[in-house]
């Protein structure tokens, strides 16, 4: 009998709860949710079998998933490892087989913070690369993870047995595992995920600033604008800590991005059609990579 405890019943935690239960990976799913309105929604929607206090969740779960924004996740994972250690000290057979995982969008800080913990082997650091621009228990949905990539960071620090069990958890979610170290993860995600959010936020700010008449935005927005600006709906609670924790990489990518925008701007300003054409042709190479 396997019990999975999920701390944070938002988009990611809630969606994991749904699929881990209905696909039979978990016999029981416990949930912890600090915000009382979210907790009662999660109960009503039926995301988990029981909404329980934090301590109960850790005591009763075999696998604990920490699915809160990255700032709090670091503290919670460390606290859970401390509790594992205390349980083992009290009763050597208890706590030893428990596993905690995080699902954060940045990996370096959480991997560094836990590196020398005596129970580090019981922690598996993962990043399931799926999501939508919505958040909260209402945003949770079945099949969110199907076919997406899940990054496992610094697996050499986890026990092979724990890694194995977590691989089977993500297998139940139909995810493709990819293995890399925490530092590489943070560089790559700055490029393929974090920068897109920043460009969307900047786009929304530009349009809102200039188009005082919101009705015009609504009337005229084409499908192209909507898809480009979609990520600008993403929540500050999630994105402030990501951008700050991955600051060095994000700044580096933003600088390159601003350079490219300036190159485009100059080509248009100079009526340099050939240069605009060659920039667009170069950008078009993305076709071969992203369907």
């Amino acid at each position: 009998m396997r019990t999975v405890g999920i701390i944070g019943l938002g988009l990611i935690g809630g969606s994991m709860a749904i699929d881990l239960k209905r696909r039979g990976f978990a016999e029981k799913v416990l949930g912890v949710e600090r915000e009382s309105v979210n907790a009662s929604a999660a109960g009503k929607i039926g995301l988990v079998d029981e909404v329980v206090p934090y301590e109960d969740c850790i005591r009763r779960s075999d696998i604990i998933v920490v699915a809160v924004p990255v700032g709090s996740a670091v503290k919670i994972v460390c606290d859970i490892l401390d509790r594992f250690q205390a349980m083992e000290a009290e009763n050597p057979s208890s706590g030893r087989d428990k596993i905690v995982i995080d699902v954060c969008s940045t990996k370096e800080q959480i991997c560094q913070a836990t590196l020398y913990h005596p129970c580090r082997a019981q922690f598996v650091s993962t990043h399931p690369m799926a999501g939508t621009e919505y958040s909260g228990p209402w945003a949770a949905m079945p099949n969110l993870f199907d076919g997406r990539a899940c990054i496992f960071a610094d697996t050499e620090e986890s026990s092979p047995k724990a890694v194995n069990i977590i691989e089977s958890l993500y297998d139940a979610l139909n995810m493709r595992p990819i293995y890399m170290n925490a530092a590489s993860h943070d560089v790559h995600t700055a490029y393929v995920s974090h920068i897109s959010h920043v460009t969307s936020f900047a786009l929304a700010l530009t349009v809102l600033d200039k188009e005082r008449d919101e009705k015009h935005i609504f009337d005229l927005a084409s499908g192209g604008f909507s898809s480009t600006v979609r990520l600008a709906k993403s929540s500050a609670d999630m994105w402030v800590p990501i951008l700050v924790q991955n600051r060095e990489n994000v700044l580096h990518v933003m600088d390159t991005y601003i350079e490219k925008m300036n190159a485009f701007r100059e080509a248009v300003a100079d009526f340099d059609e050939e240069r605009v054409r060659s920039l667009i042709n170069e950008a078009n190479r993305i076709k071969k990579i992203i369907r």
Copy 2:
């Protein structure tokens, strides 16, 4: 019996051909296509009843739709109005009831170029705001325009009868008409359409520049990145003339955009979490406007 002639059998022209015929607005659809490979594809796909030479199309059609990139469209619309004038000079009853429309993404230049033409009343300038990032006859599809906005520019320069007929054409395509002058159109579309393409091109350039290993982009690209970079697949043939024709407005929007990016960059660089949070909260207002 109403014959519609479509010049340029790409995404927009081809999709109009499909729906105008099957929804009964046109009894016959003639097509003109300069690129022989596209012409033969359009024939094979069955987009139009006949692919005909340019002169035949103008002689035989009641309504002519010019659906080529904006640079060539200006020349072609002027040439068609000249031909209407010549037909009317030769035989006063012929040519007088013919209508030509354009579907360009910029309106000021085409409306200025035609302003003093003796047959200006027979020209209706429109911009159906629909599309995908693909082009060519293979990209044409049914229902592309359903529910989208179609801008009618400077309708006071067209004959009311011609405007009426073109309104019924777009009604057959299930589009919502919006009326504005050409200059306002170009300002608004710079904000809600042109800038999103530029930000996507710049994003693709940034990622392609930095992620030398294309496999990583492919493996790691989340749904968010894909939707933000989607427009970067758009063709240079279409976008070079749009950006150049709408240069003043586009530069103005790009400058605001670069300012917003710099504000974001500074807030992240300064570890100013409160400022990052307030920028994201401000950007989130787009939620209320774009579903």
